[in-house]
Amino acid sequence: MTTFNLNINGQDRQIEVDPSTPMLWVLRDHFQLVGTKYGCGIAQCGACTIHLGDAAVRSCQLPVSAVGDQAVTTIEGLSENGDHPVQKAWLEVDVPQCGYCQAGQIMSASALLKQNPSPSDEEIDSAMNGNICRCGTYTRIKKAIKTASNSEKV
């Protein structure tokens, strides 16, 4: 067990945990931030996507020991009131079916738009290919990303 000082959603948090523990389980089990989802545990489905700094990463493959002083943002911290342009676009397009993958989709999409505010279809495909939606809302995800891209500053 090792003590780690983390910055999660703008707050300093401390935790004593096995250094190999992936951030996914630190968030879910220890901090009750359950918006970040478990889907595969091997970085293949994207349900656990969070931001490390500005980059979208799969938290199931990110040991807590690798985080250091980089800021961690989860879906709960993406915006104050669920009003990030990507979240708003998701509601406008009414993307979700079961909804389980959508936090991960939104975290990938918001990281993409921060880096590239006007992505092409191919750039969207490539950035979003790591996020599985088992219900098949892909056409709506693409549309929502376009909607957010055309809206206010992301």
Partner: protein, 732 residues
């Protein structure tokens, strides 16, 4: 207006009201603990000080806020929005005033509380309308009594009751307290479909805001003070069971509280008790990661108690079954053998599909708290009533002592019709004597069984010299159920016809997978008909329409299980919308239509070649499901069905060696991804006033064939064996 008898009397109403009250108390305790399913507060209405229960579906607050209980499990088909819409329509209340709560399992009040067979809306249409209309009537009677008038002197609209010949008005919120004492009417009037103001519009997902904010909604998110976590380990192969394991070593690992073997065998198991393994190793502890480490350290003695099958032997079983297997069901019209002999052209093709897993993105999980005289179960189940029954058998506890609450569900597809994971959670909770949440890893989930069966079918058709279809036969075998519906299309449309559904044995467990059997049959049959139409030199839509015409005017045999007019109707609609027949340079088109789960769907796929790769540019989808409840929600589930159909026919398969599933996670088991999905899917509904049928399943089956038929146009290659990827094809 339609007069309809209410199903319930005063007595059952009181009984159920009391039960629902109890359910609400639990609902509020959820609010305090972790908030799954807490109501999203309505925008325009103040939070009430007092609530009045009108019936098991409706609670009205003194401010006019209305809570509507959604009875069925929400697996992504969006019934938590569409079912309350139906109640709200008949209650005549503004949607902005409505908050939705998940109803607990309550067989006294609600009927058919399950998510399966695309049946939620279809089976509850009348009950939901009646609940709303009954509430409206009681509010009207209360107002009439208050003002010394009769109900005929009043109107109700958008949550406000008005005097017809006067100035007085009163809101639902103001009169609700008085409506509680009104006798439940024996008969109520329902609206005419043309008077609907909410049904048929587009209402956004009631959980949308919570989903995009990542709020706790799902079974995996559920938490309770003092709750422990548990994981299971099942044998690595079908045909094996657990004998023993390094129990003491596992118990001593960090974070592990207990480890033991559970046996979930129950007396007289029902259809939803299907599962891969009855005896499992269970590990209990505080944190998921520590349990995952302990799971890896398990050294078990597995005992072989059955055949260790492999994909090669599965194929042999299917081929053998097609020659000499046990016929489960069949149909024969005319004399196909004689007709083939005199046919000018004969074509025969074989189609196959592998086992596939459901792979809901939220893995199986369930919370259970079993005490000496009660059991509380909370989690993602499509069949809460079956779960209650199975837990009752396992614990030898009366059903009255068991409660089941449904969380939002991270995907169903039939997987959570099966209740074993809830039963396992109950067995673990009983053993440790405390509350526990069982979590499957992805690998546990994918290798546990309950798969879509593997299928193989042979289709044969004969054309006369004028290219009329004079003979059609299908023989289909499956492990363990054949994929043939003997009385579906083209039964009734061909003079000489036979269909045989053939079974063969396996010890790999299978279950209902989105559109059972249809998820293969549609792809095979509609691809085959495309080839037959080509052989006949006819347009594939015209060819089908000719057959429907025959079924309408001069049907063959005593019965067939479809309405030929509605079937033809969706083909005509998709033909019109897609401008079928128009020459579009570089666009390769395929069409298919299928009827299952009481809904008719026709789809046209447009494929373009980019850098020698087929890209699905657009899918046109025409649907006849009767009345459409939530327009955009209905489109969403159809779009999902199309994408699911493409994904599973194109990419997914589960293979076996020595009883061991060879794909265990998404690195080897391929699911469709963003870049492989169509660029656009446009959905059109046939407009009619027929009672609504379901949409969860019917969008998927025709997609498999429309894709194969369009791919043929684009590449010149026909696709017979799923996944098409194994025939060296990749889309996107």
């Amino acid at each position: 207006m339609t007069q309809i008898k209410t199903h319930y009397n005063r007595r059952s109403f009181i009984k159920v009201s009391a039960a629902a009250g109890g359910g609400m108390l639990i609902g509020f305790s959820w609010l305090n603990s972790c908030k799954p399913n807490s109501p999203e507060l309505a925008a325009g209405v103040a939070v009430p000080n007092e609530w009045f229960e009108i019936n098991g579906y409706i609670k009205i607050g003194d401010t006019g806020m209305v809570t509507i209980y959604s009875p069925n499990p929400e697996i992504g088909q969006n019934v938590r929005t569409s079912m309350p819409m139906i109640v709200a329509e008949e209650l005549d209340v503004p949607w902005e005033n409505v908050v939705v709560e998940q109803a607990p399992l309550n067989t006294g009040w609600y009927q058919n509380q399950f998510a399966g067979g695309s049946l939620s809306i279809r089976l509850s249409w009348n009950a939901l309308r009646m609940a709303g209309a009954t509430g409206r009537r009681m509010l009207l009677e209360a107002a009439a009594k208050e003002w010394g008038l009769t109900v005929n002197d009043l109107t109700a609209d958008q949550g406000v009751i008005k005097e017809k010949n006067g100035e007085r008005t009163i809101s639902y919120g103001e009169i609700a307290s008085k409506a509680v004492g009104i006798e439940v009417p024996k008969e109520v009037e329902l609206k005419r479909p043309k008077d609907f103001t909410l049904i048929g519009t587009s209402v956004k997902n009631v959980d949308g805001k919570k989903i995009v904010k990542g709020e706790p909604l799902f079974g995996l998110d559920f938490q309770r003070d003092g709750m422990q976590l548990a994981m299971i380990q099942h044998p690595p192969a079908f045909g094996m069971t657990v004998k023993d394991f390094n129990e003491e070593e596992i118990k001593n690992m960090p974070g592990v509280k207990d480890a033991f073997i559970i046996d979930t065998t129950i007396k007289e198991p029902g259809g939803f008790d299907e599962k891969g393994f009855l005896k499992l190793i269970a590990i209990v502890g505080d944190s998921t990661w520590e349990l995952m480490q302990a799971k890896k350290a398990i050294k078990a003695n597995w005992e072989t108690i059955g055949a260790l099958e492999n994909s090669k032997s599965h194929l042999q079983s299917l081929e053998k079954a097609l020659v000499s297997g046990e016929v489960q069901e069949s149909r024969k019209d005319g004399n196909p053998d004689a007709a083939f002999k005199k046919a000018a052209k004969v074509i025969e093709r074989t189609y196959s599909a592998p086992f596939i897993a459901h792979n809901t993105l939220e893995p199986m999980n369930f919370f259970a708290h079993v005490t000496d005289d009660s059991a509380e179960l909370i989690g993602p189940t499509q069949t809460p009533e079956a779960l209650e029954g199975s837990v009752s058998k396992l614990l030898n506890m009366p059903i009255e002592n068991i409660t089941v609450y449904m969380t939002r569900i991270g995907g169903g597809f039939g997987r959570r019709l099966y209740v074993h994971f809830g039963v396992e959670a109950a067995a673990i909770s009983k053993k440790i004597g405390g509350p526990v949440k069982l979590i499957y890893t992805r690998e546990d989930d994918m290798t546990q069984g309950t798969y879509r069966p593997t299928y193989r079918s042979i289709y044969k058709a004969g054309l006369d010299e004028n290219n009329n279809l004079i003979a059609f036969t299908v023989k289909g075998a499956g492990l363990p159920e054949g994929p043939v519906f003997p009385h579906r299309f083209p039964a009734g449309a061909v003079e000489n016809y036979s269909a045989e559904k053939i079974k063969a044995d396996t010890n790999v467990t299978t279950g209902a997978w989105r559109a059972p059997s249809s998820n293969f049959t549609a792809g095979a049959e509609q691809s085959f008909l495309d080839e037959v139409a080509e052989l006949a030199g006819k347009d594939p839509i015209d060819f089908r329409l000719e057959l429907f015409d025959r079924a309408i005017k001069n049907p063959v045999g005593e019965k067939y299980e479809y309405e030929a007019e509605r079937y033809a109707g969706v083909l005509k609609l998709v033909k019109e919308k897609a401008n079928w027949g128009e020459n579009l340079p570089d666009v390769h088109r395929g069409v298919a239509a299928y009827f299952c789960h009481s809904t008719y769907v026709a789809e046209v796929f447009d494929i373009v070649m980019e850098n020698s790769k087929p890209i699905i540019k657009k899918v046109w989808c025409a649907v006849d499901c009767g009345i459409v409840v939530n327009n955009d929600g209905a489109k969403n589930i159809m779009q999902g069905g199309v994408i699911d159909g493409i994904g599973h026919s194109m990419y997914s398969q589960l293979t076996f060696e020595n009883g061991v599933p060879q794909q265990m996670n998404f690195d080897s088991y391929q699911l469709i991804r963003n870049s492989q999905a169509p660029k656009e899917i446009e959905v059109f509904f046939v407009e009619n006033e027929i009672d609504p049928t379901g949409l969860g399943e019917p969008g998927l089956p025709p997609a498999m064939a429309a894709l194969a038929n369009a791919l043929y146009k684009a590449t010149g290659q026909r696709y017979y064996h799923q996944p098409f990827m194994s025939e060296k094809q990749v889309v996107g």
